[in-house]
């Protein structure tokens, strides 16, 4: 459509231009105002302006409007993105702040756990040491008793052996007679 209009305008302008050019050629000889050329230029300008206003300006206006809409949309999107970014930032700052608190609480809990574990280990170590000490005391007491019993048994054994030796060395017929008499007395009772 646009192409046909341009062709129409050009077709209309060419004869006018040729007519005016012929007049101009005669005009050089008259030396006055070139009304024909001026009119032609004015008509030409009017046609140009009309073509411009009829076909070019709407497209330009549409493009400008589109561009404006695009810019506005982009600005809105940017604003929304900024708002979202700010919201996220605030959210993450809040989370960060909460995280600090949580971390502090976790550190405190871990410290309390470590303290409890330390106390437990110390208590277990104390109990083990106490058990070892008591075992050692029992073992020592047992060893002392055993040694005492061994010594006493040895003493008794030596005493009996000495008594045996003395009896073998000093036993007389009179002793035997007395033993038999006592024995028979006991049997008779």
């Amino acid at each position: 459509m646009k192409a046909r209009l341009v062709t129409f305008a050009a077709t209309l302008a060419v004869p006018i231009h040729l007519a005016l050019a012929s007049e101009e050629a005669h005009g050089h000889e008259a030396h006055g105002i070139p009304w024909g050329s001026l009119l032609f230029s004015a008509i030409n300008l009017a046609i140009f302006l009309w073509v411009l206003g009829r076909f070019v300006m709407p497209a330009v206006r549409g493009w400008v409007a589109q561009r404006r809409d695009d810019v506005l949309n982009e600005l809105k999107a940017a604003a929304a993105a900024k708002e979202e970014a700010l919201r996220l930032k605030a959210e993450w700052e809040a989370r960060l702040a909460a995280l600090e608190g949580t971390m502090a609480e976790m550190r405190a809990e871990a410290q309390r756990d470590a303290e409890r574990e330390r106390e437990r280990i110390l208590a277990a170590a104390r109990a083990a040491a106490d058990t070892i000490r008591k075992d050692a005391e029992r073992a020592a007491a047992y060893e002392i008793r055993r040694t005492q019993q061994q010594l006493r048994a040895e003493l008794v054994h030596q005493a009996v052996r000495l008594a045996e030796d003395a009896t073998r060395a000093q036993w007389t017929a009179a002793d035997q007679q007395r033993f038999i008499a006592d024995f028979l007395k006991q049997v008779g009772q």
């Binding site: 006493r152 009996v160 033993f179 038999i180 006991q186 049997v187």
Partner: protein
């Protein structure tokens, strides 16, 4: 003592009693038991490798050489038949116990640290005769391990008057007191 020996002794005792030959049978049995207890004869009599004919021959030889009674000769043949010749010492012991019981007497073993004189032995016999109410036949064994005093064994019961036992008792008392 085995149940077999007790059964054979009881049977022999009954036969001897019927034949009114309790004491002669005991004497014969003691002699043949003495031979059977010999370390060289005993294993032969107990040997399971001995043939029946050989066992009978041994019984006949013992009867002939020891001049045993007819009753004891037949008894040895019976033991040979049943391969019980090795039980002779135990049978003799049991027979003697049965005879002692029948005769109202007991046997005691007197262990003494030193030899006993006749008076001491008589005193012991009299004491145990009074204690048991039976005739007492004693056998004295010298045992120096007793150190002093005597120990009397009566039918499985022990009357202990030895210095050894008193010392042992003293040692036990001392050990018990020491461990308190």
């Amino acid at each position: 003592m085995s149940a077999v020996a007790r059964r054979y002794a009881k049977a022999l005792f009954a036969l001897a009693k019927d034949g009114n030959a309790l004491q002669p049978t005991a004497d014969d049995l003691a002699r043949v038991a003495g031979v059977a207890a010999d370390p060289t004869v005993g294993p032969v009599l107990r040997s399971p490798l001995l043939s029946p004919a050989r066992r009978h021959e041994l019984a006949q030889t013992l009867t002939r050489e020891l001049r045993l009674s007819d009753l004891l000769g037949r008894f040895l043949q019976l033991l040979a038949d049943h391969q019980r010749l090795g039980e002779l010492p135990a049978i003799a012991d049991r027979y003697q116990q049965l005879l002692d019981t029948a005769m109202g007497r007991i046997r005691i073993v007197v262990r003494s640290a030193s030899p006993l004189d006749a008076a001491q032995e008589a005193g012991i016999v009299a004491a145990f005769a009074k204690l048991t109410g039976k005739e007492v036949i004693s056998r004295v064994v010298v045992d120096t391990e007793l150190l002093g005093g005597i120990l009397v064994e009566v039918e499985g019961k022990v009357y202990d008057g030895s210095v050894r036992t008193q010392l042992n008792r003293l040692a036990k008392d001392l050990s018990g007191a020491a461990s308190l």
